[in-house]
C-alpha cells in the first residue's frame, strides 16, 4: 500500500515530521517498507537554461553547452542528448551528484578533450520516467536555479507500507490516518460524505441473479448514471498523486475510481452507458463465456467467477477487473458508476485462478467496509460532477448493505491479563474510540462494537491487540518467567532425541561429514530404495526430481557424494541423521542414520599416504561405521546378528543385514549395488549403511544406577590359536559362534586373526584362524585340561561348520 505525505495530510491534521510518521506507522503495526523522498534524493537537481549549445569539436554526437544554473557564471557541460539545443530549459546536476538511473556519482570530467562540469539529465537518469531519448525539456517559464523536484511536484514523499492481510481498513489512506490519529499523531479530519441528490431514476436496472445460498457473492450492488459528463485528462494534482503511487493516469472518470480506491479503500467501476446494452445482471459466469478485460487479455470464465453482464454478455469480472468493451474513454458522455460489495473468498479464488492482481481485488479479498458502499458511490459521483460536470440520477441499489455489527463484552482487565501492561481503562477506551469502536457501559466490563471497517475484530484478544499496539508494545516491560519448580532442572530429551544427537557426534567422530538433504526425492529413486507408495507422492512437487517422500536417506547421500566427486572431491564420507517415510501416518515416519563413503574415504585415513594407504572403501568400512554407531548408542552387541545379504540396493554378496532376530531388522550395510550405481549415474567405489534409530529397543529401566559387581578372577587368561579349513561359503561368524559355544564357562573371547585362500588350500575351501581366550576362574588350568577344552572347540567347530583343523 503506497501513499504520499500530502495525500495523508488530506485526512490527518498533523504537525508530525515525516520521520515521526514513519516511525509511528511501524510501531503500530503498519510496517513501513520504504520511503521515497524525492525532495531529498533529487535535492542537487536544479532548473537550468541552455545559453548555447554548439557542436563538440571532436565528436559528431556530442554538444558543448553553456548552461546558466542561476548560480553565477555559466557552466560548460558536454551533452550527448539529441534534443540539447540553445535556448531550452532542462534539469542540471552539478559534480558530486548521485545519478540514480546510472548508479554513478558525477565528477568533473573531460569528454573527448572538452571539460564538462555537470550534466543535463533525462527522466530515466532521475528515475522519474522511462524517457531516455533526451534530456528533460521544461517550459520557458520554469524558474532557473530552483530545485527541480519541488518545481515538478516530485517533493511529496511516497510511503509504502507492508500491510498485513487482516487490515482492509488500511488499504485506504483515510484508514491509515485514523490509526495515526489514534496513536496521537494528529487529528483525523471529518470523513462524512454528503449525500448526492440525484434527479430521476437510473435508466439501467440491476438484477442480482443468484440461486439461494449464493447471495453472499454480492450482497449489494449500487449504480448511478451521470449524464452529460465531459471526460478528458484528470487535473494535474490528481495525476501527480496517482503517478506518485505508481498508477498511470487514464482519464478523469477512471482516475476518479482509482483515486477513491486509495483514498477511501473503496474500489469502483465505471461503464460507458452508450456501450451497455440493456440492463445489468450480476451472476456466476457460464461455462464457455469469456471477456476481454481492461488489461487487454481475454479470460475464459467458469461458474466460479462472478460477472456483471448486460444483454450482449459479460462486461466485467466482478470486483477484479472491468471489461474493455464497456469501459469509459474520452468520448464518454454518460457514465454509470458502480459501487458493489463482493465475497472476499470468491474474489481471492477468482483472482488467483485467473492470475489477475488489481487494486480492486487487493481490497475486496481482504473485506472492505460494507457501510461505505453508498457513501463511496456518492463520493465518486460528486468528484465526477466536480471534475467532469454532468447530472446525476438517483442510485439504483440491488440487494442490501449487510449488517455486520456485533458486540463484544470486554472486561478492561483483559488488557493486563494478556499483555502484562497495566493500561488504565480510560486510556484503553480512548484508543478504542479513536479507532472507531463504540464503547458502551462503564465499570469493569463494557460492551464494545467494532466499526464496520474492521472485519478482523472477533473477540477480546483482538481488542487487547488494538489497545496495546496503539499504546505501544514497547511500553511492556519484560518480566521473567519463573521456573515451574524451584529445583534442579530435570533431563528433557526423549530417547530418540538423545539417540539422534549422539548418532551425529558418533558418526562425525569417524570422519564423516553431516549433510542435510531433501526429504523428497524422485519417484524412480524412491522405488529403487523400497518406496514409491502413491500415498507418499506429492500432488504438486516443486520439481519432478523432488516428488516423493524419501523411504531412505541413501539416495540423497549417494547423489550428494557423486556431486562432490563431479566437482573434484571424489573421496567423500557423508552422513545424515533424519526422517524417512514408510507411510503418511505419524508412525510411518522414523529417524534413520545413514552414511556413505566413496573412493578412499576410510575412517583410518583418506587418499594416498607414504606409509601405504589409498585403499578403496569396502563393505567393512561401512560395517565398522554402523557397529561404532551402535556401540556409541550403548546398544548391547550381545543379541546383534549380522546376516549375509541386504536389501536390493546393496551388492548381494557384499552386504549384511543387522538384526536382533529375524523380526527385528534394524539396518544394513555393504557395497552399493552396481545396478543402483547405473540407475543413479554414480561411480564407485561406494559403500553405505543405514540404521533405523526408532527400531532399536530402548534400554531396560533399572531401579538404580549401580553397575554389576566387578568380579576379577585371580588367574591369568590364556590364549590358544586354531587354524581351520572350511568350505568357502562357511561364515566366519559361525566358526566364532561354534567356538564360543564349546565351553561357555571358560571361553571369554574368540577372534579371527587370519583368513586365507590360495596355494596349499583346496580351491573350494579356505583357512580361518581363530584365537580363543580362556579365563579360568577356579584354579590354574593343567595342560590336560587345556587339551580337553581345545578338543571340545575343534569338535564343536567341526560339528557346526564341517571344519577340519589345518595340518
Amino acid at each position: 500500500m503506497k501513499f504520499t505525505l500530502s495525500w495523508l495530510k488530506d485526512h490527518l491534521d498533523t504537525t508530525a515530521s515525516l520521520d515521526e510518521i514513519v516511525e509511528t506507522l511501524t510501531r503500530i503495526g503498519l510496517e513501513v517498507e520504504g520511503v521515497e523522498d524525492k525532495a531529498k534524493t533529487l535535492a542537487p537537481y536544479t532548473i537550468a537554461y541552455v545559453i548555447a549549445a554548439e557542436q563538440h569539436p571532436n565528436a559528431d554526437r556530442l554538444r558543448v553547452c553553456m548552461v546558466d544554473t542561476g548560480a553565477g557564471k555559466p557552466i560548460q557541460v558536454v551533452c550527448g542528448a539529441p534534443n540539447a539545443r540553445t535556448g531550452m530549459k532542462s534539469v542540471f546536476a552539478p559534480p558530486g551528484t548521485y545519478i540514480p538511473g546510472k548508479n554513478i556519482t558525477l565528477g568533473i570530467g573531460t569528454i573527448r578533450g572538452v571539460e564538462s562540469a555537470g550534466m543535463l539529465c533525462s527522466g530515466s537518469e532521475l528515475e522519474i520516467s522511462d524517457d531516455h531519448d533526451g534530456i528533460i525539456e521544461l517550459p520557458e517559464d520554469a524558474p532557473v536555479g530552483k530545485a527541480y523536484a519541488a518545481y515538478a511536484g516530485l517533493d511529496d514523499p511516497v510511503i509504502e507500507i507492508n500491510l498485513t492481510p487482516n487490515r482492509p481498513d488500511c488499504t485506504s489512506i483515510h484508514g491509515i490516518a485514523r490509526d495515526l490519529a489514534a496513536a496521537g499523531l494528529g487529528t483525523l479530519k471529518a470523513d462524512a460524505v454528503p449525500a448526492v441528490q440525484g434527479r430521476g431514476a437510473c435508466p439501467v436496472s440491476v438484477t442480482l441473479d443468484f440461486v439461494p445460498g449464493d447471495e453472499k457473492l454480492c450482497p449489494v450492488f449500487a449504480l448511478r448514471l451521470v449524464r452529460g459528463v465531459k471526460n478528458g485528462p484528470s487535473p494535474e494534482w490528481m495525476q501527480r498523486r496517482l503517478l506518485s503511487i505508481g498508477l498511470r493516469p487514464i482519464n478523469a472518470l477512471v482516475d476518479i475510481t482509482n483515486y477513491v480506491t486509495f483514498d477511501r479503500g473503496r474500489p469502483l467501476h465505471v461503464f460507458d452507458l452508450k456501450k451497455v446494452k440493456g440492463n445489468l445482471t450480476v451472476r456466476r459466469a457460464k461455462a464457455g463465456e469469456e471477456v476481454l478485460a481492461l488489461d487487454g487479455r481475454t479470460y475464459a470464465l467458469d461458474s466460479g467467477t462472478v460477472v456483471i453482464a448486460d444483454e450482449s454478455g459479460v462486461e466485467s469480472i466482478a470486483g477484479i477487473m472491468g471489461g474493455e468493451h464497456s469501459g469509459s474513454d474520452e468520448g464518454t458522455t454518460d457514465v454509470l458508476i458502480e459501487s458493489a460489495l463482493w465475497d472476499p473468498l470468491n474474489i481471492a479464488q477468482t483472482g488467483r485462478k485467473h492470475g489477475i492482481i488489481t487494486d480492486a481485488r487487493y481490497r475486496f479479498e481482504r473485506g472492505i467496509d460494507p457501510a461505505f458502499t453508498l457513501p463511496g458511490l456518492d463520493l465518486a459521483t460528486q468528484m465526477v460532477i466536480d471534475l467532469c460536470g454532468g447530472e446525476p440520477s438517483e442510485a439504483v441499489v440491488a440487494g442490501q448493505v449487510p449488517d455486520t455489527s456485533r458486540v463484544i463484552a470486554f472486561p478492561w482487565s483483559e488488557v493486563p491479563r494478556l499483555s502484562g501492561l497495566d493500561v488504565r481503562p480510560a486510556e484503553s477506551e480512548e484508543i478504542l474510540r479513536k479507532l472507531g469502536f463504540k464503547v458502551e457501559g462503564s465499570g469493569e466490563r463494557v460492551n464494545v462494537t467494532p466499526p464496520s471497517w474492521r472485519p478482523d475484530i472477533e473477540g477480546k484478544a483482538d481488542l487487547v491487540e488494538e489497545v496495546i499496539r496503539i499504546a505501544g508494545v514497547d511500553r511492556i516491560e519484560p518480566q521473567p518467567l519463573a521456573r515451574l519448580e524451584a529445583a534442579v532442572a530435570k533431563p528433557i530429551l526423549t530417547l530418540i532425541q538423545k539417540r539422534t544427537r549422539l548418532a551425529r557426534r558418533a558418526l562425525a567422530v569417524r570422519g564423516l561429514v553431516e549433510a542435510v538433504t531433501w526429504s523428497f526425492i524422485s519417484k524412480g529413486e524412491a522405488e529403487l530404495f523400497g518406496g514409491g507408495d502413491p500415498r507418499l507422492s506429492l500432488a504438486n512437487p516443486i520439481a519432478a526430481e523432488l516428488s516423493d517422500m524419501r523411504p531412505s536417506l541413501l539416495p540423497g547421500l549417494l547423489k550428494a557424494a557423486q556431486r562432490n566427486a563431479d566437482r573434484g572431491f571424489g573421496d567423500v564420507a557423508l552422513f545424515e541423521v533424519g526422517q524417512t517415510f514408510a507411510s503418511d501416518e505419524p508412525e510411518g515416519q522414523s529417524i534413520k542414520a545413514a552414511a556413505v563413503r566413496r573412493g578412499t574415504a576410510r575412517a583410518e585415513g583418506v587418499g594416498r599416504h607414504w606409509d601405504g594407504g589409498a585403499e578403496s572403501v569396502d563393505a567393512f568400512d561401512a560395517k565398522a561405521d554402523v557397529l561404532a554407531l551402535l556401540a556409541a548408542l550403548g546398544i548391547p552387541a550381545g543379541g546383534l546378528q549380522i546376516v549375509s545379504g541386504g536389501p536390493a540396493w546393496f551388492h548381494p554378496g557384499r552386504s549384511g543385514t543387522l538384526q536382533f532376530g529375524p523380526r527385528n531388522v534394524v539396518g544394513a550395510f555393504g557395497e552399493v549395488h552396481p545396478k543402483i550405481l547405473k540407475a543413479l549415474d554414480l561411480k564407485g567405489p561406494l559403500v553405505a549403511f543405514e540404521l533405523d534409530l526408532n527400531a532399536l529397543v530402548p534400554p531396560k529401566a533399572k531401579p538404580t544406577k549401580m553397575r554389576p559387581r566387578l568380579g576379577l578372577p585371580d588367574f591369568q587368561p590364556l590364549t590358544r590359536d586354531f587354524a581351520f579349513v572350511v568350505g568357502r561359503d562357511v561364515a566366519a561368524g559361525d566358526i566364532v559362534k561354534a567356538a564360543q559355544g564349546a565351553e561357555r564357562q571358560l571361553i571369554v573371547g574368540v577372534d579371527v586373526f587370519d583368513v586365507y585362500e590360495g596355494t596349499g588350500i583346496d580351491p573350494d575351501k579356505k583357512s580361518v584362524a581363530i584365537a580363543v581366550t580362556l579365563q579360568p576362574t577356579e584354579k590354574t588350568l593343567t595342560d590336560v585340561e587345556i587339551e580337553a577344552v581345545s578338543s571340545k572347540i575343534v569338535a564343536e567347530v567341526a560339528k557346526k561348520t564341517g571344519a577340519v583343523l589345518r595340518s
Binding site: 503500530i28 503495526g29 498485513t164 492481510p165 487482516n166 487490515r167 473468498l345 488467483r352 493486563p416 494478556l418 499483555s419 502484562g420 484478544a461 487487547v464 491487540e465 499496539r469 508494545v473 514497547d474 511492556i476 516491560e477 519484560p478 518480566q479 521473567p480 518467567l481 515451574l484 532442572a489 530429551l493 532425541q497 544427537r501 551425529r504 557426534r505 562425525a508 567422530v509 570422519g511 564423516l512 561429514v513 553431516e514 549433510a515 542435510v516 526429504s519 502413491p534 500415498r535 507418499l536 506429492l538 500432488a539 504438486n540 516443486i542 517422500m549 540423497g556 550428494a560 556431486r563 564420507a573 557423508l574 541423521v577 526422517q579 515416519q589 575412517a603 585415513g605 599416504h609 606409509d611
Partner: protein, 360 residues
C-alpha cells in the same frame, strides 16, 4: 704382595680396556671364572695356615671386590655407550605426516548444531523439546490453527499436498512447526513449556527460499503467561544465542492467524563489511514472529481461553544460523557440498552447552 698388586693392576687395566660387553665378559671369566686368576687365588686360602689366611685373606678378597666393582662399573658404561649408539642410529623423520584424524575430518551440520544450541538455552529456562510428523493433516496444519477456509496458504502454490485419500482428504507437508503446538496442547495438560524444532516445507524456491527449511517454535501455556513474559524469554534467548551481553529488540504489531495479539520482532544490529553484530548499530533485522495463542486455537485444543493463556513464537533455524555464523545464502545448506560443510560445519566434539559456552 707384589704379585697381588701386579695382578690387580693388570686386571683393572684389562677391564678398562674392554671395548664391548664380550671383551668385558672375557676379562671377568679370566679373573673371576672357575679357573680365573682371582678364583685360583681364592682357592689357595683353604690350604693356608690361619695366620697366612688372616694376612692373605683380606688382600685376596679385596682384590676380588675391586675387580668385581670395576667390571660392574665398566658394564654400565658400556651399556650406556651401546644405548647411545643405538639411539643415534634409530632416527625417524618426524615431519612425515600421519593420516588426518577422523575427529579432524568429521563435521556437524550447522542446522544440527544450532538446534543443540537452542535446546541448551531453552532447557535452562525449563522447556522441553516436542516433535511431530512432517506429513500433517490439513486440520492440524491449518484449521486447528485458525486459518480460515480459502486462506492463500492453503493453496497449491504455497503448500505441498499429498495425493487425496479415499475420502478426498489430502494431507500436507507441514508448512510450519505450529501443528505440534496443537498436538502438544491436546496431549498434555498445562502448564506447557516446549520448543518444537523441525523440518518445514513450502512451495517456494528462489534465491532466498528453499522448498524445505527448518523452524523452531516455542509454546508456553499456563494461567498467567503474558506478553511481558514472552518479551523476557525472547530477549534472554537472543542474548544467549548470539552470545552478547545486550540486545535491543523491537516488537512490531503484526498478524498471524494463530496468535492474537501478534508481533514481529526485529533485532538491532550493525552491518560492517558484511559482518552482522548484535547489540549495536542502527539497523533492524527481522528474526521472529510471536504472539499470544489465539483464543480459537486454545478452544480447538480443548482449553478455555478465559482460564488458560499463553504465547508462542516461531523462527527460522536456517535463518538464525545464517545471522549468527554468516552464511550468505540459504540454498547451500541442502546441497551437501563438502567444501561448504567443511567451512561452516562444526567439529565433532564442539558440543554446545551453557556450562562451557555455546561455541568453542
Amino acid at each position: 704382595m707384589t704379585d697381588l698388586n701386579q695382578l690387580e693392576r693388570d686386571l683393572l687395566s684389562q677391564v678398562e680396556a674392554a671395548g664391548d660387553e664380550a671383551a668385558l665378559e672375557a676379562v671377568r671369566v679370566s679373573a673371576l671364572g672357575k679357573k680365573g686368576s682371582v678364583s685360583e687365588l681364592l682357592k689357595t686360602l683353604g690350604s693356608m695356615t690361619p695366620e697366612e689366611r688372616k694376612e692373605r685373606g683380606p688382600l685376596i678378597n679385596g682384590l676380588r671386590d675391586k675387580v668385581q666393582t670395576a667390571i660392574a662399573a665398566k658394564k654400565e658404561t658400556l651399556a650406556e655407550a651401546a644405548l647411545e649408539a643405538r639411539l643415534a642410529a634409530e632416527r625417524i623423520d618426524v615431519t612425515l605426516p600421519v593420516p588426518e584424524a577422523p575427529e579432524a575430518r568429521g563435521r556437524i551440520h550447522p542446522i544440527s548444531q544450532v538446534i543443540e544450541e537452542l535446546t541448551a538455552i531453552f532447557a535452562d529456562m525449563g522447556f522441553s523439546v516436542a516433535e511431530g510428523p512432517d506429513i500433517e493433516t490439513d486440520y492440524l496444519n491449518f484449521t486447528a490453527l485458525n486459518f480460515p477456509e480459502g486462506h492463500p496458504a492453503r493453496e497449491m502454490h504455497d503448500t505441498f499436498f499429498l495425493a487425496p485419500d479415499e475420502k478426498g482428504e489430502r494431507k500436507v507437508l507441514r508448512t510450519h512447526t505450529s501443528p505440534v503446538q496443537v498436538r502438544t496442547m491436546t496431549s498434555k495438560a498445562p502448564p506447557i513449556r516446549v520448543i518444537i524444532p523441525g523440518r518445514t516445507y513450502r512451495h517456494d524456491s528462489d534465491q532466498t527460499h528453499t522448498p524445505m527449511f527448518h523452524q523452531v517454535e516455542g509454546l508456553v501455556i499456563d494461567k498467567s503467561a503474558n506478553i511481558a513474559h514472552m518479551k523476557w524469554i525472547l530477549e534472554e534467548f537472543c542474548k544467549a544465542f548470539f552470545e552478547v551481553d545486550q540486545v535491543k529488540m523491537r516488537f512490531r504489531p503484526s498478524f498471524f492467524p494463530f496468535t492474537e495479539p501478534s508481533a514481529e520482532v526485529d533485532i538491532q544490529c550493525s552491518r560492517k563489511g558484511g559482518e552482522i553484530r548484535f547489540g549495536e548499530g542502527s539497523d533492524w533485522l527481522e528474526i521472529l514472529g510471536c504472539g499470544m495463542v489465539h483464543p480459537n486455537v486454545l478452544r480447538n485444543c480443548g482449553l478455555d481461553p478465559d482460564e488458560y493463556q499463553g504465547f508462542a513464537w516461531g523462527m527460522g533455524i536456517d535463518r538464525i544460523a545464517m545471522l549468527k555464523y554468516g552464511m550468505p545464502d540459504l540454498r547451500p545448506f541442502f546441497e551437501a557440498d563438502v567444501r561448504w560443510l567443511n567451512h561452516y560445519g562444526f567439529r565433532p566434539l564442539d558440543i554446545p552447552s551453557l556450562v562451557s559456552g555455546l561455541t568453542a
